[in-house]
Subunit: 535 residues, 2 copies
């Protein structure tokens, strides 16, 4: 594989950006949908144009070799990969650049960095793949710090031990998704955790942000795959016992899962793995009515069948992202197993869909292949398209489009009102900000008691004003989610950007407990200040 260059301003690798025919087709599709859009591209500024100043920090001698003050490196560690990050990068608005990027190679070096920064009042921003979409890795600091370092865990990227019997592995936090899977594949194992950011995010990032995987039901959130965590805090290092389950007190790991770098640095974890699937079944079900489609999806979620994929696309989503015109939406259904053919499961799920008026344009397709070639199955095709979406977003963001997603979870009883309120709030905000476009909705994850709806906004913005337009839309839909019983985030984390709603959703005693924990483990308040907590 040829080494590629990570984009400092947008998603992924620069070599993989949308270009040529793919770009022409994308632009053409957008013009068809939004003929009035001004799609003049914004040029990407050069690093020198950004005017990044000299680093305000000098590392102690022993750590200097780990530190980079290169402006390009620092620029790439300034923002995450949200729409608002890309827009700011393209505009050259890098207001909070880290002074240094520090790449420790051992745990002792992490301890030394934390000691130095604790002594010197330097903010430390833990950095995995940098794919935060909530301002989680941005040194946007309220407090009075001597500076900020981005602590890039990328050098800690090894699989240290594999326990084939228990199907588990001890893995360092800085490993990226593809490298991890490549190392597990020879053992017939997989973490099977495929968030959209898979190629450009790390195990440590998934753990710190409680990432949601690709699969629709069952154990899909990273939390459930953790046997044991190892965490370095400014006050000391801890490792939980490697256990399949324990009832001894509140779970130690659950305090650090979702702590988003504010309580400590997750350096490694024992993760539960799975055998690589062999049997697969997939199909698409069409509905003429959305409410009925939702009811069918709920029936499957409550059936105990646990499909790996059960993604209800509403009509707009089906049209835009799957090219299918169906009034009530499309349910994409899939089952996978490493142990047994999945026909019985699929047949019952299809029966439930038909009971709710769903129709199958084609019968379910089944495969029995231990190692499917890339791009061979429908699921692979969909996955390729899925992984291309952030690149498309970049191309459109550079052309004054507003292209962004937001997500939540709520109980089934509240979903109709929540959905209606979000549609209303989004449309009102699009109108009031002068943007024209569409809102789409799909379910990314399903639980017996509720779905995780994932919304997309695709709108023509005003050149130079899309950041402000999006911020207004985001605030409006967030209020709607909050008012109608949704969480402010199902799997995008809190970071700095979700704080206004997170603060209102978090129970007061837990807020007090979290603050007390923070003060105890990070007494100088150096770890990712402003994320989750005011300090």
């Amino acid at each position: 594989m040829v080494d590629k260059t990570r984009s400092w301003w947008g998603w992924g690798n620069t070599e993989d950006a949308i270009s040529g025919t793919e770009l022409d087709e994308l632009i053409s599709r957008v013009r068809g949908m939004l003929p009035q859009a001004d799609l003049t591209p914004v040029p990407v500024p050069s690093i020198t144009e950004l005017g990044i100043g000299t680093s305000g920090l000098t590392a102690p001698t022993g750590l200097a070799s780990l530190c980079s003050d290169d402006p390009a490196d620092r620029a790439a560690h300034t923002h995450g990969k949200a729409f608002r990050d890309v827009v700011r990068n393209l505009a050259g608005d890098l207001d909070h650049v880290p002074d240094l990027v520090v790449r420790p190679t051992t745990e002792q070096e992490i301890i030394d960095v934390l000691d130095w920064c604790s002594r010197s009042n330097i903010a430390v921003i833990p950095y995995g793949g940098g794919s935060s979409v909530v301002g989680g890795i941005e040194p946007r600091l309220d407090g009075d710090y001597a500076g900020a370092v981005s602590l890039d865990l990328g050098e800690l990227d090894q699989v240290m031990e594999i326990d084939r019997t228990s199907r588990a592995a001890r893995i360092q936090a800085g490993v990226f998704g593809p490298a991890l899977e490549n190392r597990l594949r020879p053992h017939g194992l997989s973490l099977r955790h495929f968030p959209q950011s898979f190629e450009f995010s790390t195990l440590g990032g998934w753990l710190a942000t409680r990432a949601g995987g690709h699969y629709a039901t069952g154990y899909t959130r990273i939390d459930d795959m953790v046997e044991s965590l190892r965490v370095i805090t400014p006050s000391g290092t801890g490792q939980s016992r490697r256990l399949p389950s324990s009832g001894a007190g509140p779970s130690p790991d659950r305090l650090f899962l979702g702590s988003e770098g504010t309580l400590g640095i997750i350096t490694e974890a024992w993760m539960r793995l799975q055998d690589r699937p062999r049997w697969r079944g997939s199909t698409s079900v069409h509905f003429t009515d959305y409410d009925t489609a939702v009811a069918a999806t709920r029936a499957i979620a409550q059936s105990g069948l646990s499909p790996t994929n059960c993604r209800l696309l509403d009509a707009a989503e089906a049209f835009l992202n799957a090219g299918t015109a169906v009034s009530g939406g499309v349910l994409v259904l899939g089952f996978e197993s490493a142990d047994h053919p999945v026909q019985a499961w699929m047949e019952r799920a299809v029966e439930l869909c038909r009971d709710h008026g769903g129709e199958l344009p084609a019968p379910p397709r089944y495969t029995d292949a231990p190692t499917p070639r890339e791009g061979r199955t429908t699921a692979d095709n969909w996955r390729s398209a899925f992984l291309r979406m952030p690149y498309q977003r970049d191309a459109l963001a550079a052309r004054s489009m507003i292209v962004e997603t937001f997500e939540t979870a709520c109980t089934w009883d509240r979903f109709p009102a929540l959905h209606a309120a979000v549609v209303e709030a989004a449309n009102a905000a699009l109108a009031s900000t002068g943007a024209s476009g569409v809102l789409t909705c799909r379910f990314t994850h399903l639980y017996p008691d509720g779905p995780a709806p994932y919304f997309g906004v695709y709108a023509a913005g005003r050149p130079g004003a899309t950041l402000q337009q999006w911020d207004e839309i985001k605030a409006a839909v967030s209020e709607a989610l909050h008012a109608h019983g949704g969480t402010i985030t199902h799997h995008h984390a809190v970071g700095r950007d979700h704080r206004p709603w997170y603060d209102r959703q978090r129970p007061d005693p837990f807020a007090a407990a979290l603050l007390a924990t923070k003060t105890t483990l990070d007494p100088n308040g150096i770890l990712n200040p402003g994320v989750l907590l005011p300090v």
Copy 2:
């Protein structure tokens, strides 16, 4: 149903104690196994013989009507229901009797009690069903307290709301298992949480101790059934948002699940429910070799089939508790569903067993019955026997037998060595304490990465010395569990009795976080002092 009388000294209701023919048969079985046992029964002391003094506390006027200083009431709230509790009760050793039993009927009364006790330095022991087996509800206090009250939540026992669409209910913490199921049954719903203590334990107790349910795999621990918790702490009240899932920061609920009454009083919860099962399949698989039986069980645990029952009984357990003589043990397999027949699932599980040399004495039995009559199925029979076990324990404890269980969980790779070490430690401790008997093992819960082994000790003790004998055996097996990678408890909680091992297993940063949380939420240290934490 006729009202029954709760036993102050032993399990359950006095009317249901083992007696008559059932007692004769039990004694006869024990004599056959342990002919040398001295089975002279110890009489149950009368309450007056216990010499319980006058309460040292007087409640404020507004709370007086909620408080009982009746010696029988206080005696019944002194100990949990472990073997060592029963033995101490029969010996009249009630060293730490609560001064008052307080039964609040509203949240405001709970707040008032906490305020009074915080002001007056009185320890508060939250009490659900009182079925702790780890000293969790015993006012055994190290600190200097003005007294202790047992806060009995039994008056808060209502199902407040049912959401049929999302299959969830808002339930008060003080409800007992059977009353809860009776209220959910008309709606076709069930919490399906059936710990062995089911009849005499409460929702609040299950939540505070992270109880494990009856089912072997999947979502069986109470943690996974929680949508939202409501908790009153001495520093304020909090309620988490009702959500199917959320990725917003560390889970607030997971901090209180397993807090064992040390951080606050859980007053109610929104719980995820299930449709009542209709289709059932069950079978028993015999093995000639235990290691192979373990391997078969592991294969099922890693298959994704998720059986409701998958209980591997070793040879001693199969002989003692199922009356089956099989050299390698018996795997009791079951599937249940409210949605679909379970043949496909069972057939694949049986195939996995046969691949590992398992043999079925009879083909699997399947039923299709929405409301099975009590006692009709094998599973019901087993469940009845299961629920009788604590009564048998009492009868034998009163006859100088040592009858107790301990449990753990470990990864599969460690199980053989852990099992061998526990067998060796138990046998050595039995010998050194002069007890003779047997150790049994079954798996109560299964995870893809490891089992939860549950051990039983059945031994003839020395009259008057069984408490000391058991404590020595327990310490020895706990050391073996600890040394071989097991948790000190999979589902019996920590309480006061597991502290020596819990303290060694808990990561230091989490211990510091828990202590900081405790100090913040319960600044006067009144809540269940000595449980989980030194204060």
